[in-house]
């Protein structure tokens, strides 16, 4: 049975067939002409033409081209051998017509095949395009969470796409057939007609699609929707991740606190999540739940974990009544140890105790604290009765004491010998009879609070404690085993509140009677009770409630999105692991490759560098010798700088002072300028000093030393001057050389006035000089004087010379001549000083 597509295709092919039918219709008319015009004497042509006409009629009726082709072929074959007699000429026309019919039908047959082929290809492409859209839609639907929304967003685009493809398909087929038929009608060959048909098809498809407006709008809409969903998803992921992180951090803190492992946490993580959500309005956070779980686990020494019910109860009581999780855990443990009940039942007992304390008008937190801190006393005195312990704690609180203190008093009373002695001492001190026997009996029965009460009654008989003297008070403290402050406080409370709220206490005790049974209760019931207890929000202000409600709303929103994070986090971790799995070996491979490459390079380059280094070392060796040789010069330069600067300091200070004095207004700026100038001066001076000292040391000093040596000799000789003058400038000129000593025409000495000594025996000169000096000095000092006198005179002389004063010798100025000589050589190193 033909489907819609086949019917549609056939409808299109009919257009091609109509052309054939039109032509076969024309040919049928031609047959009529043959039949009418044929000569009746030979009926063969008429009969054949009639048959042909019938064949064409059948074709028109059935459309069966193949049958027609076969029948016409048979007719063509038969007519070739037939004798048409008088109709022979017409028979040629008829036979040509048969050939034409065969040509038309064969052409039709092949054209139909080609057209069908085109239709099939078009349908196939159309199907592929549609399947792409279907695949996109199918893929979109499979995307977790946002899939359906994305698919819905994609639906309009898909619809438009399908419509466009459908129209393009129809347009293609229609355009093809129309153009093919038109071209064929116009006499084009099949190849040309087919080509025109394809063009027509393309044109038809394009025109058909142009009707499907707004594809891009739909596409943009889809993309925007996808982006929007993506953004929302990311935001949701962030919110969920925050919650995920919070719970994860809480669980981590639990593990750190307890030392337990992930695998040992049981349902704690889900408990943290659900309890923090359920008790959110009470201000319970994930951290609070984890903290309670940690406190419980630690109290139980890691032997058991708090159930959901216990945890819910703990955080509810903590938030609603201010009893810390740690305190509750201790009390829970105490109750378990005393009664042998389960942790769930023990927690229920805590709830009852708190409710009873509230009913009795005492602070539940104080009661719980008292029980927690005096667990040992509880176990010791209450015979395993948690009810008695709770009652005692409440009663003690009402009395202004604690079970710890009452237990201590009871223990004191039961130390009979000591207690009775002190009792008697107190009686003696006060001059009255004191009797703690009743209290002692009650203490023996384990009724510590009653014993305390009995003590208080006895004490009240003694009058106002404050009026007792110090010794009496001390005796009272010793006898009762109570602190003085506590005693006075209890006495005061007893007076003020005597009989008040006793009914409340009774009600509380009744509650304890029913609520402290050790019948095990289940976890769900405990959760319900805890929620009821928490709902009281007994300690919360209105602002707290509002803040907690807001926080709870936030937590619930976060919790709603947390599955996204819970879903994605492990995937992301897996992804990272996969990336690491892939990349780490790759990085390792790259690292190994680098190692090989640079190892090889190193092996090549190191010898090269070693060679270059050796060459450079060899080249630089002479330079090193030179540098080593000239290094002392540089060192001298370094040494000279500070010396010269020190020498120039007065000048520098003067310049500074001058600068400051002249331009005080400019202040700091000028100071800096002056400092700069001074620095420059220092630098310049240091250079000059260095140069000077270098020249001095290596040039002037050696020369001057040599001159000095000579001058000393001269000075020594000068001191022997018989004319009393040592300055050659002050000596009288001897005139011409003719008055000198000449031997053999050569001058050996000038005139005796021009020279100090002229001798023909130079060897005896030194001894003569020594004797002369001795004589001169001896004569100068008046002769016969001791060396001390000489030294004294020389010191005087030195002083005078140092003071730059003139020294006269035999009425002549000696120092003037010396100074003059010194000036000539630029140094006074040879002078007497």
């Amino acid at each position: 049975m033909a489907n819609d597509k086949q019917i549609e295709n056939q409808r299109e092919l009919n257009a091609l067939q109509r052309l054939t039918m039109s032509m076969t219709g024309d040919m049928s008319s031609m047959m009529d002409d043959i039949i009418v015009s044929s000569d009746k004497r030979n009926k063969a042509l008429k009969e054949d033409a009639t048959i042909t006409k019938q064949i064409l009629a059948d074709l028109k009726k059935t459309g069966d081209v193949n049958k027609t082709i076969a029948q016409i072929g048979t007719q063509i074959g038969q007519s070739k051998n037939k004798e048409y007699g008088v109709n022979q000429k017409s028979a040629s026309l008829y036979q040509s017509q048969l050939i034409a019919i065969r040509g038309i039908t064969t052409g039709q047959k092949e054209a139909a095949k080609a057209a069908q082929g085109v239709f099939d290809v078009t349908d196939e492409i159309s199907s592929k395009f549609n399947s792409v859209l279907d695949n996109i839609d199918s893929f979109t639907k499979k995307i977790p969470i946002i899939g359906p929304a994305l698919s819905n967003a994609f639906a309009p685009l898909k619809e438009k796409g399908e419509l466009a493809i459908s129209r393009a398909t129809d347009g293609m087929k229609n355009g093809f057939i129309r153009q093919l038929t038109k071209a064929k009608k116009a006499g084009d060959g099949f190849a040309t007609s087919f080509s025109k048909g394809i063009k027509g098809g393309v044109s038809g498809a394009t025109k058909a699609i142009s009707g499907t407006l707004g594809m891009s709008t739909a596409l943009v809409g889809t993309l925007l929707m996808a982006v929007g969903i993506g953004v929302l998803l990311y935001a949701a992921f962030q919110i969920g991740a925050k919650r995920f992180k919070e719970i994860d951090a809480a669980a981590k803190s639990f593990r750190q606190e307890t030392g337990l492992l992930n695998s040992q946490m049981g349902d704690l993580k889900s408990n943290i999540e659900s309890i923090s959500l359920e008790m959110g309005t009470l201000g319970v956070s994930s951290a609070d739940v984890a903290n309670a779980a940690g406190a419980f686990s630690n109290e139980m020494k890691g032997t058991s974990m708090a159930s959901k019910g216990v945890l819910t109860s703990m955080v509810a009581i903590e938030k609603s009544f201010g009893v810390s999780a740690a305190t509750q855990a201790k009390v829970n443990n105490t109750f378990q140890l005393m009664s042998g009940a389960s942790d769930i039942t023990a927690q229920k007992m805590i709830q009852t105790t708190i409710a009873a304390a509230e009913l009795a008008g005492v602070a539940p937190a104080a009661i719980m604290q008292d029980i927690a801190e005096n667990a040992e006393a509880g176990l010791m005195h209450f015979r395993g009765s948690t009810k008695a312990l709770a009652e005692a704690a409440i009663e003690a609180r009402r009395m202004g004491t604690s079970i710890g203190e009452t237990a201590k008093v009871a223990e004191g009373l039961l130390d009979f010998e000591s207690s009775i002695t002190k009792e008697l001492e107190l009686g003696a001190m006060l001059g009255t009879r004191v009797n703690f026997n009743k209290a002692r009996a009650l203490a023996f029965e384990g009724k510590t609070v009653e014993a305390q009460k009995a003590v208080n009654v006895e004490v009240s008989k003694l009058g106002d404690i404050n009026k007792m003297n110090m010794y009496q008070k001390q005796a009272l403290v010793d006898a009762t085993g109570m602190e003085l402050t506590s005693m006075i406080k209890q006495q005061s409370i007893a007076k003020k509140f005597k009989g008040i709220d006793d009914d409340r206490l009774e009600a509380a005790n009744s509650l304890l009677d029913t609520g402290m049974s050790i019948n095990d209760m289940n976890d769900e019931a405990l959760v319900k009770e805890a929620k009821k207890l928490g709902a009281q929000k007994a300690m919360q202000s209105e602002m707290d409630k509002m803040a907690n409600n807001t926080s709870a709303l936030g937590a619930s929103i976060s919790d709603m999105f947390m599955p996204i994070a819970t879903f994605l986090m492990p995937l992301l971790n897996d992804l990272y692991e996969m990336v690491n799995f892939i990349l780490l070996p790759v990085f390792g491979l790259i690292g190994t490759t680098f190692k090989i490459i640079f190892g090889v390079l190193s092996a090549i380059l190191r010898p090269i560098f070693a060679l270059v280094k050796a060459l450079v070392g060899a080249i630089m060796e002479p330079f090193k010798v030179i540098f080593d040789a000239i290094r002392p010069i540089g060192e001298h330069f370094e040494e000279l700088g500070p010396k010269l600067v020190k020498g120039m300091e007065p000048v520098i200070s003067f310049i500074k002072m001058l600068g400051k004095a002249i331009i005080p207004i400019i202040g700091m700026f000028v100071g800096d300028l002056v400092d700069g100038v001074v620095g420059a001066f220092k630098l310049i001076f240091s250079v000059f000093e260095a140069a000077y000292n270098f020249i001095d040391k290596y040039l002037i000093q050696p020369i001057t030393s040599m001159i000095n040596l000579i001058q000393r000799g001269i000075s020594a000789i000068a001191s022997l001057n018989p004319f009393g003058s040592s300055d050659s400038n002050q000596l009288q000129s001897g005139g011409s050389i003719d008055d000198g000593i000449v031997q053999g025409g050569k001058i050996i000495s000038t005139h005796p006035e021009d020279t100090l000594i002229a001798t023909k025996t130079p060897d005896s000169l030194l001894s003569n000089i020594a004797g002369g000096i001795s004589g001169v000095v001896g004569g100068l000092m008046g002769g016969g004087s001791s060396d001390a006198q000489i030294v004294a005179k020389l010191d005087e002389l030195i002083t005078v010379m140092g003071a730059n004063k003139d020294v006269y010798m035999d009425g002549r100025k000696v120092t003037a001549g010396v100074s003059s000589t010194v000036d000539k050589i630029g140094s006074n190193s040879y002078s007497l000083v």
Binding site: L93, G103, G187, M215
Partner: protein, 88 residues
């Protein structure tokens, strides 16, 4: 109804996006179809056989009627002659 040039320009401009868009999709589609047709040997063979059939028919008719155009025109109607590729 007759539209002015201005109205035609306006229409073209306002629908240009859609025309371009459809043109793109049509190109994509028709190119795929043309490629498919080119690759299909049955289609090209059918076209060849069709052309061969009409060429053969034309040649046989001309031979049968000794190439006498008048006879051919007399025997074969115009539509068929065109179809069979006769130039007259």
């Amino acid at each position: 109804m007759k539209i002015t040039k201005k109205e035609a320009t306006l229409f073209k401009e306002s629908h240009n996006r859609y025309l371009s868009e459809s043109s793109f999709l049509a190109k994509l589609f028709t190119r795929a179809v043309k490629k498919g047709i080119d690759k299909d040997p049955n289609i090209s063979n059918a076209i060849k056989r069709a052309d061969t059939a009409i060429d053969k028919a034309r040649a046989e008719i001309e031979m049968k009627l000794n190439g006498d155009k008048d006879e051919i025109k007399k025997a074969i109607p115009l539509s068929v002659r065109k179809y069979l590729g006769f130039k007259y």
